[in-house]
Symmetry: C2
Subunit: 258 residues, 2 copies
Amino acid sequence: MKKVTVIKIGGNIIDNPAELEQFLTDFSKIEGYKVLVHGGGKSATKMAQSIGLVPQMIDGRRITDAPMLDVVVMIYAGQINKHIVAQLQAKDNNAIGFSGADGNLIQSTKRNHPTIDYGFVGDVKQVNTKLLATLLEARVVPVFCAITHDKNGQLLNTNADTIASELSIALSEVFDVTLTYCFEKQGVLQDSEDDSSVITEINEALYQKLKEEKVIHSGMIPKLDNCFNSLSRGVQKIKIGHHKMLQNSDIPHTTITL
Amino acid sequence: MKKVTVIKIGGNIIDNPAELEQFLTDFSKIEGYKVLVHGGGKSATKMAQSIGLVPQMIDGRRITDAPMLDVVVMIYAGQINKHIVAQLQAKDNNAIGFSGADGNLIQSTKRNHPTIDYGFVGDVKQVNTKLLATLLEARVVPVFCAITHDKNGQLLNTNADTIASELSIALSEVFDVTLTYCFEKQGVLQDSEDDSSVITEINEALYQKLKEEKVIHSGMIPKLDNCFNSLSRGVQKIKIGHHKMLQNSDIPHTTITL
């Protein structure tokens, strides 16, 4: 089975031009099939403020109303995505930028919550694996922003981590998939204050133990639950760590397997 | 030789949601291979104003400085392009939206004018015909915005009419291409005040005659020169008219051939 590397980057890289440039240089050198998924960073919030939008919050959750959807589509699918694509092209990677609407690559369903109206937020329903595989085989490097659609003409805002995991699960039907989440820390830490305390390998048994011992707690629990869900649905391996690990595999990071 | 229909739409359609919806319905019913190229309309200017940008003009020409480039990338490649793609997907056309950076589909050169610095404006250098043909054969409907890149990481603003003609010329290597420019009038008019005075067919000899008689003058001359240039470089046929002609071929329009 051919291998695919799926990498997700977030705001800590996107908001810092020097980091983004370094990341894209490292990413461009990865051999074989690969997919990049990027989040949004702060520029959507900045743009929303500069045109006078007030963030809509319900129960502490950000709501994507119609004007905010326009902003995230502009910034994620326009500014950030095309900037990354142009940079990768300059590094001789044949990148193409996609939203989920393009090629119906990621179809989602508008979230229907019993008490909170999240607005134009979509939960992933299906991935067009066949087209994605065709693109990879044509040596295209797909670059996904966190915008999907409902196939009825509505664009929807979707969590970038979820897009990375759903694409990885779908690609697992055809490829051996390694999913890498790049974030600001070196991995899952034994001590959240100490960046050198990286737990380099976690499997399901260790995860249960670390949860019981309260070493893993709060925000890391849904993140890791999501990882084990992806692994159980076919993803071969998940890595979590700082993007520096792409240049130098000796840099500690966390590898998660079943 | 297989046929391809390339259609270019401008601001008069994009700025009017009902017209755009009708156009996309008609476009979605066109059989065979097809490509859509869209201009920008007024929303880039509105967005620029709302974030406080002052249009930069030199000798009456609009200049694309760096902040304005950000705006056109957001609006053209983000908002307008993804909206059109989602609408076409809802009409069961497998649309994918592209800038010229995506797949290196349209590489351009930053305009180098002896006296005017146009800023980030690109003149088309080459089209990735091979990838474009592969996409068409995979039944993808490419939707191009008027953004290109220089392959060195720089996005560039490019005239949408030029993109439509350069794509058509490049596709003529492999396909029989009909290029259609949709605009607010029914075609090239004998009397510019009378929309029923459409000249239904123009060839090069008639064009020379109409120019001498001053029936065709001012802004139509560079437009038609550009059409004859495209025809001499391989495009089979060019149509100019109102988008209503897509639903009903009895609606008068101008057909241009060599």
